[in-house]
């Protein structure tokens, strides 16, 4: 019976899987002029534009999303196109407008609420968790909340302790929420579209430093019906010696680390989590069962972090396959410093990932 199922799965294929292979092929030829490039900013903007065009119930609400064109220009041009009823500038009152967004979602609209950074989401966190995440469960399915909370998350550059926290672990703990963390432009487009179309509350964690980065992008990704599945991680780089998991900006660092490790004969597999909740335990475990070693990478605080959950899940499901203790790379266990040299020490760097991978392979001194 399983043979038939496996056969069916292979035949039906996976749209995303084919896409991945296509993208990888393009990426290998990344620097040829025929590949299209798109910044993460444009990817997000185009996703918002297309979803608003497709569904009149979608609207954007947040500080400076309208006349200012977006604090980080993510919503540029949308006010002119859709008008002030659908691109709503708010006063600086996160608790108020997050609650208003959730109430609108109760009624059946599809709000996209922007937090200028997720640090400010703490002012509204009661509405995200108690009013949004738990409502479908508490009302036995009567009141669903098709809302998206989006904005930059984690450290930027030199913005200090109160503006640099990563919230992936906090929101990732909450049943009822879906938590996404895109890396590339394809991720940004596909996951934002999936988030807006999803009937459940989604926390969409972007990264300010990635907004300006360009990634190669295929025609399929540019199609307005494109979306990526929620809950599925992507293997950015296949390998066989050690698995490195990462999300958001750290995926780029992990890929750089993998290149360095390759020169030293360590073939690392890099997993781009894409979704923090639900975690793609299946992909992570399959990878660890293949490589037998794991390094988790995140920007946020180490205690109770995403890496801790990944480590626990691998120990639970794939213990016999581990040949070395799981290594965790995370932000330093301090509030983010302002001084540039201290800030550099507080955020994971490529060398940290390389060193941890070597330890996992018993190759350090």
């Amino acid at each position: 019976m399983w043979g038939i199922i496996r056969q069916r799965a292979a035949c039906k294929g996976n749209h995303a899987l084919n896409l991945e292979q296509g993208i990888r092929a393009i990426a290998l030829r990344a620097f040829s002029s025929s590949a299209k490039q798109m910044t993460v900013r444009d990817a997000l903007n185009s996703a918002l534009d297309e979803e608003m065009s497709a569904d009149p119930k979608v609207f954007i609400m947040g500080e400076e999303v309208g006349e200012y064109q977006g604090a980080y220009k993510i919503s540029k041009g949308l006010l002119d196109k859709y008008g002030p009823d659908r691109v709503v500038d708010t006063p600086i009152t996160e608790a108020g407008f997050a609650g208003i967004g959730v109430g609108a979602a109760y009624y059946g609209l599809r709000p996209v609420i922007e937090f200028m950074t997720f640090n400010f989401s703490m002012q509204a966190i009661d509405h995200i968790i108690n009013s949004a995440a738990k409502s479908n469960y508490m009302s036995a399915g009567q009141i669903s909340v098709p809302i998206v909370f989006r904005g930059p998350n984690g450290a930027a550059a030199g913005v200090g302790a109160q503006h640099s926290q990563c919230y992936a672990a906090w929101y990732g703990a909450i049943p009822g929420l879906k938590v996404l963390a895109p890396y590339s432009s394809e991720d940004a487009r596909g996951l934002l579209k999936a988030a807006i179309r999803d009937p459940d509350p989604v926390v969409f964690l972007e990264n300010e430093l990635l907004y300006g980065e360009s990634f190669p992008i295929s025609d399929e990704v540019l199609d307005s019906s494109f979306s990526l599945p929620i809950g599925k991680a992507k293997i950015e780089r296949e390998g066989k010696d050690v698995t490195i998991t990462a999300f958001s900006k750290m995926v780029g660092y992990a890929l750089q680390a993998a290149d360095i490790l390759a020169k030293e004969g360590i073939n690392a597999e890099v997993i781009n989590l894409r979704t923090i909740r639900p975690l793609d335990r299946s992909t992570i475990n399959s990878s660890v069962r293949k490589t037998n070693r794991l390094v988790t990478v995140e920007e946020g605080f180490p205690q109770h972090g995403v890496g801790a959950e990944i480590c626990a899940t691998v120990v639970e499901d794939s213990f016999e396959y581990l040949d070395a203790p799981v290594e965790r790379i995370a932000g330093a266990d301090v509030p983010m410093p302002y001084a540039a040299n201290l800030e550099r020490m507080a955020v994971p760097q490529v060398e940290d990932i390389v060193r941890a991978a070597k330890r996992a392979c018993y190759r350090s001194r």
Binding site: W2, I5, R8, A9, K12, N14, H15, A16, L17, F59, T90, P91, T93, A95, G96, F97, A98, G99, I100, V102, G103, A104, Y106, Y107, G108, L109, D126, H127, N130, S131, S135, N136, Y137, M138, S139, A140, G141, Q142, I143, S144, P175, G176, K178, A194, D198, P199, D200, P229, I230, G231, K232, T275, P278, D280, R281, S282, N285, S286, R289, E316
Partner: protein, 401 residues
């Protein structure tokens, strides 16, 4: 809880209907004066004269008697541990619910605070198709949510309003003012109803608010102070507020009301106020007594007929309780239902199958079938599977459908 019962009970063929049909009086209009005039802030108040009918008077009486009976029943159910968690009783405040209901339609939305956990499912406490968006456990959260409902009503161009209800305790919440500011900026059809029963848990209003004139606290938003023990004043105010909100944006209604019980079942209600105060209000201002006097003075029913209505209502409540007692606790599989509306678009691969099936024996037959049918569906449509966990994750894993 009693608010909800009132809202969702359809008008039944009752004693009151029988009384009215024998007297052929049901729809002839009566004019009633509110107990006190309205006090207004930044607006001209509505008139004290309220149009009503014998049918409405008898319905008010019956509905309030039903609510009162429900609260008393809830009291004893809680004490016999059939209701768990917190239980906040509403007796004394019935006129607010009944008066409001008479002024609005099922398309208008209501959102409030105060919920309790009882036997059975939560779905009884929410009724989206009736416009009731639930009781919310976080004090004050319901006000921005209510303004959000109003935002959506305006966005959708429905000519309806939202009543966001809160107490004097919640009236000082910052998020209320954040939401009110936006409601006023954007002219949302939101009516903020402060049920001022003068005590936020055990804290009297003058100890919690520098300005307990809650109808004035909207500043630039107009407000009306209403005798919340007078169902007709409430009805008049809600009608007035609805017309205002549809044209001019938000308005605050302060209902001056009183609760006889303490804040919750563990509160005797007498450590922060005197028993004389409670019995004084019960004698002078009880909402059901007020309607009873009106009915008798207009000769719409006899004392005996009203007593019979009370007996009928008591029987109805007892029957409902008996039915609730019989209904079973939810099936264990319900632990995992409705966490999400939709599962995830994840391709099933073999290792996930292996992981799930090790626990199959611990699921019931029904759950196993769901698991299998989900797996088949997943392979064909590449959709919807993810895991959730019980307390012992090796013992209980669920596939969220």
């Amino acid at each position: 809880m009693a608010q909800l019962t009132h809202r969702t009970t359809a008008f039944q063929k009752t004693l009151s209907a029988a009384i009215l049909s024998t007297r052929h009086l049901s729809t002839s209009p009566i004019t009633v004066e509110t107990s006190v005039p309205f006090t207004a802030h930044n607006i001209d108040p509505p008139s004290r004269s309220v149009e009503t009918t014998p049918q409405e008077l008898l319905t008010f009486y019956r509905d309030m008697a039903l609510m009162r009976r429900m609260e008393i029943a809830a009291d004893s159910l809680y004490k016999s541990k059939l209701i768990r968690g917190f239980c906040h009783l509403y007796d004394g405040q019935e006129a607010v619910a009944v008066g409001m209901e008479a002024a609005i339609t099922k398309k208008d939305c209501i959102i409030t605070a105060r919920m309790f956990e009882g036997e059975g499912r939560f779905d009884a406490l929410y009724k989206k198709e009736g416009g009731f968006y639930g009781g919310h456990g976080i004090v004050g959260a319901q006000v921005p949510l209510g303004c959000g409902l109003a935002f959506a009503q305006k966005y959708s161009k429905d000519e309806n309003v939202t009543f966001a209800m809160y107490g004097d305790g919640a009236a000082n919440q910052g998020q209320l003012f954040e939401a009110l500011n936006m409601a006023a900026l954007w002219d949302l059809p939101a009516i903020l109803v402060c049920e001022n029963n003068h005590y936020g848990m055990g804290t009297a209003e003058w100890r919690a608010a520098k300005s307990p004139a809650y109808y004035k606290r909207g500043d630039y938003v107009p407000g009306l102070k209403v005798d919340g023990m007078d169902a007709f004043a409430v009805k008049q105010a809600c009608k007035f507020a609805k017309e205002h909100a549809l044209k001019n944006g938000p308005i605050i209604l302060e209902m001056d009301t009183y609760r006889y019980h303490g804040h919750s079942m563990s509160d005797p209600g007498s450590t922060y106020r005197t028993r004389d105060e409670i019995s004084g209000v019960r004698q002078e201002r009880d909402p059901i007594e007020r309607i009873r006097k009106l009915i008798l003075s207009h000769d719409l029913a006899t004392e005996k007929e009203l007593k019979d209505t009370e007996k009928e209502v008591r029987k109805e409540v007892d029957e409902a309780i008996a039915k609730a007692k019989e209904s079973p606790l939810p099936d264990p599989s319900e632990l995992f239902t409705n966490v999400y509306v939709k599962g995830y678009g994840v391709e099933l691969n073999k290792s996930l199958l292996e992981l799930d099936l090790t626990n199959l024996s611990r699921f019931s037959v029904e759950q196993s079938l769901v698991l299998f049918s989900n797996i088949k569906l997943t392979l064909l449509v590449i959709d919807c599977i993810s895991q959730s966990f019980g307390a012992d994750r090796k013992e209980l894993r669920a596939v969220l459908p």
